[in-house]
Symmetry: C2
Subunit: 302 residues, 2 copies
């Protein structure tokens, strides 16, 4: 099994009702890889600037199985930086600033050593870039993409091409509605199936997720958490747990396999939100993860 | 098994993106009883005015097992009437008018024939009235109450007394937060357990429900529905399916029994929202209900 993720490394500044953190490690690729690493090895393709603190690399490499060969550090460039403030209920946030940095430059190349990657996650970026990554991964067996409102609005033709070439799509419920013009989440998810993917995962944050699949629907609640410190990275760690589980299942995207994958994503994300940045995942142990997975499965069983 | 529900009979005027209905049958007791009737007999205690159209009684009695002995029709009074308009996403609504009518008068008495009722649901009304109903039901084995923001704000002392005397509480997520001052739904639900009830069911509409129980938590998604015509009565039919299931289980409120009860509530509510008023439940068959229950259990299984 060879799981690869293309996405961002970020320097995040986050304010939540529980406190603030200035310039901590973030980014879609970072969160994804940390979460996926609990299920097996994971390769990352991302770019950072010369301002990336060396200890961030140490944190990332501290997750067993994260292969950073594809992390390109560009000395003369700036790392993508993002700042946000969460509202009291943690369900919404305001972006305070976005400094694109290396994201405005050419995307990082996929190392030759990664060319045999079979399980591919294309974290949120311009769909044209995501398509280019696909081209460079001829051995892919399972490809899942994330996207966002920006690309739905300004790069729809590229996004449509991407959708015709991926096995799965992950997106937020409001983005599913934007993409399809349907206000009902179930109708929106089913509509996306007609655009190409075999399955669509609609993320609803604290309300869980909905899976539309050619064989049927599934719905899972979030892990009921009292201890939400920082929701940043919830979606990316969810995707990391999901893809890690699917890669461990050799790309089995049957409905039962996907339900288990969504449950794994849900549970690993529930740990991530218990602290800022990657603090909680960095000290998460496999027994803790297994225990909460078993607890979660018991909670949702009828 | 002898299930009883105290609540309202209403004349509803409803506007949704799918259309409008003027002066149709509604009310918490009505929706609850119709839903519960699929699981066994159900007795109602409610008052209506002389303006209640005779065919509304026929509709209610058309549900096998609904006992209307406790429905008091007061010729000189007006039936409770409510008008509302749902927003495009069906998740929120504006109340257009409320005419309390008989709700401003003395509550209806509990008929002597109902005094042996064991399973009691106190639909939303002033907690002082709910306490009075309790007193009149000395044989009760399981009592569950609903409440709302109004009583939390203006009748807190009565509500606290009620909470110390019921087995379970059902309420919306925003009401759970209002009752406890905790913005996190899980924390709010757990807090309510310290006020008396053995279990608390937090309703989240299209996002499902959360159960806090002395033995642990459970979470269930809503049935993923594409066909939402009118959400009115969703909470009451959910409660009706839940209590019907618990009464059929002879009041077993263990965590597994409650999880099944919540699933039954979820499924019967999913039919109710497919049409205005009681139109869908009136033509719902047991095989349809069983088939969707099996489908739902499959959707949420990990």
């Amino acid at each position: 099994m060879s799981l690869i993720c293309t996405g961002t490394i970020g320097i995040d500044t986050v304010h939540t009702p529980h406190g603030s953190r200035e310039r901590v490690l973030g980014g879609s690729c970072t969160y994804f890889a940390a979460a996926a690493s609990f299920y097996g090895p994971v390769r990352i393709v991302a770019a950072a600037g010369g301002d990336l603190p060396p200890e961030f690399l140490g944190t990332l490499r501290g997750f067993r199985g994260v292969d950073t060969t594809g992390l390109e550090v560009r000395k003369a460039s700036k790392t993508f930086a993002w700042g946000g403030r969460y509202h009291d209920n943690m369900n919404s946030r305001d972006t305070l600033f976005t400094e694109l940095g290396v994201l405005e430059e050419a995307p990082p190349p996929i190392p030759a050593a990664y060319a045999d990657s079979e399980f591919v996650f294309l974290a949120n970026t311009h769909p044209g870039v995501q398509l280019g990554m696909l081209e460079a991964l001829p051995r892919r067996r399972l490809t899942v993409a994330d996207t966002m409102d920006l690309w739905i609005n300004i790069a729809r033709a590229d996004l449509d091409r991407l959708l015709s070439r991926v096995d799965g799509l992950v997106l937020n419920y409001d983005e599913a509605e934007l993409l399809t013009g349907r206000a009902n989440t179930v109708a929106a998810a089913r509509h996306i199936l007609t655009l190409g993917p075999k399955f669509v995962v609609v993320k609803k944050g604290e309300h869980g997720c909905l899976l539309a699949h050619r064989e049927g629907l599934a719905a899972l609640p979030a892990y009921p958490s009292e201890n939400v410190v920082d929701p940043t990275g919830a979606g990316d760690t969810f995707a990391g747990g999901m893809m890690g589980s699917l890669a461990a299942a050799m790309g089995d995207v049957s409905l039962p396999s996907l339900r288990r994958a969504l449950a794994h994503g849900t549970v690993v994300a529930s740990f991530n939100i218990e602290s800022f940045s990657l603090e909680r995942l960095a000290r998460l142990t496999r027994p803790e993860l297994d225990a909460r997975y078993a607890e979660y499965v018991g909670m949702v069983r009828v």
